[in-house]
Structure formats: C-alpha cells, structure tokens
C-alpha cells in the first residue's frame, strides 16, 4: 500500500458514519482494556508496593496523580491537534473530538490538582502551595473552562468550531508562556517530573529517583489512563456526532416545511 492511499484510508474515518461504525466496534475493547489495566495497576500500586522510606504510604497517591497530570496535558495537546485538523481540512469529526476531549481533560486536571493537594498536605504541611507545577495546572484548568464555555455559548456549530479552534491555538501559546512565567515567578518545592526521564528511573542523575518497585505499577496505571481517555473521547465524540445529526435533521425539517 502506498503512503498516499494509506493516508486516504486514514481520512476516511473523518466521515461521521464510518467513524461511528468503527468506534462502535472498537469501543468495548478500550473499555475492557482500560478497566483491566487500571485495576491491575491500582491494586498492585496500593497493596503490593512498600511504603516510601521518607514519604510513608502517602506516596501511593502517585498512581492517580501522575497519570492524571499526564492526561491533563495530553488531552490539551490532542485538542490542539484536532483543532488544527479542523482548521486545515474541515473535518467535522475532528472539531467534535476536540469538543469531546475538553471536559475529560478538565476532569483529569481537577484530579491532578486534588491529588496533588492531598499529597502535598503531609509533605509540605499545607493543602495548597503556589508551587509552579500546581499553579500551571490551575491555569491550564482555567483554559479548559474558557474553551468549554465558548463552545457552549455559540449556537452555530461551525462558527463554534472555528472560534474554539483559534482559541485553542492561541491558548496553547499562552499556556506555555504562563508555564515559563510561573517558573520565573516562584521556584517551587515540587519534586521534578522524575518519571519520564530515563536518568531518573535508573537513578543516575538524581537522588529523587522513582525506583522500579514503584515505576512498573505506575506505568500500568498510565497505560490504563491513556486507554480510559481514548475510550471516553471516542464515546463522547460519538455522542456529539449524534447530537449534530439530530440538530441537522431538525434544521432540515424547519427549512423543508
């Protein structure tokens, strides 16, 4: 198969009908897999890992905190990508997928913030600390709020898709800027993002390493969250497509009569 025909077959899923038919088939797989991964990862993480010598059992909230934070950012990146696809190729499914991902991303951000606060309480002695990482997530949450509010406020679906896409693009730049601004503003107490660095896992570049005992269940949890996110977004996109179709049929009815 040549590259162009592969690409063509990929864009075929931008047809709402094809998208619905396909997602209906694959969705059960994603639901079951994400449930399995989450169950294994969380049970393994909570009951079969030792307490941290410094943080005690508090550390176990990492199995919710880190995957949620990961998805909070990746959901926004996915919205950015689908918004770009909408602006360039005008595939309605892409715009609706961005709309469907926003509330999921916002909830992930809330989970990351709340678990962060619960983790931070015994560590820092306070529920909330204006630590740069937490603050960035709070700002990201505000961006999610604005994005969702704009979708809700506009009646015409194409106008709403265009405006929210531009907001997502501009918002991404400003979210990144805010991240650096916040770092500049407060150096912070947060432990570095020690999961994703190879050096951190082997412990070669820092003493704050996440040891393998914690890492493998965490990895399982992260995969579970990714699968859950995909399942939720596909499911919600299907709902959005059906809602669009209902509205289109109603509009057709009004014009026809």
């Amino acid at each position: 198969m040549s590259i162009s025909s592969k690409l063509n077959s990929f864009w075929e899923y931008a047809n709402p009908k094809k998208f619905l038919a396909t997602t209906e088939r694959v969705l059960p797989v994603f639901w079951i897999l994400s449930a399995a991964f989450l169950a294994v990862g969380l049970i393994w993480g909570f009951f079969f890992t030792p307490d941290d010598y410094r943080q005690g059992s508090t550390v176990k909230i990492i199995y919710l905190h880190v995957p949620a934070a990961l998805m909070a950012i990746n959901a926004w990146l996915m919205m950015l990508l689908t918004s770009l696809i909408w602006l360039v190729r005008r595939h309605h499914v892409s715009a609706l997928a961005a709309r469907a991902a926003a509330p999921v991303g916002a909830i992930m951000t809330i989970i990351a913030l709340v678990t962060g606060a619960i983790w931070g309480q015994p560590m820092w002695g306070t529920w909330w600390e204006w630590d740069p990482r937490l603050t960035s997530f709070l700002i990201l949450f505000l961006f999610y709020l604005g994005y969702m509010a704009l979708w809700e406020a506009i009646d015409n679906p194409d106008t709403a898709a265009d405006l929210t896409s531009v907001l997502c693009l501009v918002g991404s730049v400003f979210a990144l800027l805010s991240r650096y601004a916040v770092n500049f503003w407060n150096q912070g107490l947060h432990q570095g993002a020690s999961v994703m660095r190879a050096g951190a896992i082997t412990g070669s570049d820092t003493t704050e390493k996440v040891s393998n005992v914690f890492f493998f269940p965490l990895l399982v949890c992260m995969i579970g969250f990714v699968l859950l996110f995909i399942a939720l977004v596909l499911y919600r996109t299907g709902t959005e497509i059906r809602a669009r179709r209902v509205n289109a049929l109603l509009a057709r009815e009004r014009v026809g009569s």
Partner: protein, 218 residues
C-alpha cells in the same frame, strides 16, 4: 486608518463613550484595598505594586466588551469588513484606540494611586515603565477576546473568562518588575520578558483577532 483611529478616539471622548470609566474604576479599586486589608502602611507598601497592576488589569478588562460590540450592533463592522481596509488593520487600530483611551490614562494615574498605597519611592519608575510596556499587550489580547465574543448576547462574562487566563504571563512579568523595583532590585529581566510578550502580541495577535472576527461576521 488614521480616520478610524480619530473616529474611535472622538467616540470615546463624546458623551456616553465611556472614557474615564476605567480610570474611575482603577481609583475605586485602589481605595477599597486598604478597607479590605487594613490601613497598616508596611503591609500596603508591600502589596502596592501587585495591587496597582491588578487594578489596572481589571480596569482594562472592564472596557473590553464595548470595544467591538458597539460597531457590531450598528452594522459598522460589516461595512468596515467590506471597506478597502484589511480587517487586521481594523483590529490593530481598535486596540490602539483602546490603549490610548484606557491603558495610557491608567499608566499616568498609577503613580498618584501609588501614593495612596504607600508605594516605596524607588518603585515609581519601575511601576510606570512596566505598565507602559505591559498595557499595550492587555489591549491587544483584550481585542482578541472581544473579537471572539462579539456576536454573543451576554458576552461580557464569557469575555472575562476567556481573557483573564491569557493575561497571566503579562501580569506575572509586569507586577514582578514593579515589585522588584519597589524593593530596589534589578528589574531588567522581567521588563525584557514583558517587552517581548507585548511585541509578540502586537505583531501576531491581530491576525488571530481578524480571523475570528471574519468567522463572527459571516
């Protein structure tokens, strides 16, 4: 383009144009601060740079919903969009007019209000410089928000929700410069960052504003 700028300035100055409302709001917010945190002069002096920056930012925000909405309601925007002027120029001029009628008076009033909040003597230059560099970004970002919400009934609250997160970097660097100035520290780093943000906003955001305005006009 000059004609549009002059018209907008004239409209702002005439009756009902709302010129000075932002300034009055800035004054009132500043006066309310000691009532809420107490009259202790050392505390006021500590928080003065941040409060003045926040007050200026809110005063700016307050006048944004009129920025494009009036021209939208009376059909001027439709006519401007069909005029030989590119829409990018229209939104830039609109932002400039907003800055001259709202941002610039705030910059000039800030030192006077600084006296009320017991701002330390070394802080005045930094406060004025940071506001002078930062308020144009507030106007340009606000124009983008106004263009996003121009077609909406009750767009005002949504406008604040959309624009305030976009104001975060400007506020952080601006008030940081003012705060460091008040403490007698070096302010060049935040000031340079602030200037960079303003320059990038002025250069790039009008394209986004014009794009969303076109979407809203159709």
């Amino acid at each position: 383009m000059i004609a549009l700028l002059l018209r907008d300035l004239k409209l702002a100055l005439r009756a009902g144009g709302g010129f000075g409302l932002g300034l009055a709001f800035f004054l009132i917010v500043t006066v309310m601060v000691p009532f809420s945190v107490g009259p202790e002069s050392t505390l006021l002096s500590t928080i003065a740079p941040g409060v003045l920056w926040l007050g200026a930012l809110l005063a700016c925000l307050l006048s944004l919903d009129r920025l494009l909405a009036l021209d939208w309601e009376d059909g001027s925007l439709d006519l401007l969009a069909t005029a030989p002027l590119p829409l990018e120029a229209v939104v830039t001029i609109k932002a400039l007019a907003h800055w001259i009628t709202t941002g610039l008076p705030l910059v000039l009033a800030a030192p006077i209000l600084g006296v009320l909040l017991n701002l330390s003597p070394s802080g005045y230059a930094a406060l004025v410089t940071s506001l002078l560099l930062g308020t144009p970004a507030l106007s340009v970002i606000g124009t983008f928000g106004a263009a996003l919400t121009v077609g909406l009934k009750r767009g005002g609250l949504l406008l604040s929700l959309l624009v305030l997160p976009l104001y975060v970097p400007t506020l952080i660097f601006g008030s940081e410069a003012a705060r460091r100035g008040a403490l007698g520290m070096d302010i060049s780093t935040p000031l340079l960052m602030l200037a960079g943000i303003t320059a990038a906003c002025v250069a790039l955001l009008p394209f986004a504003s014009a794009a969303v305005l076109r979407v809203n006009l159709r």
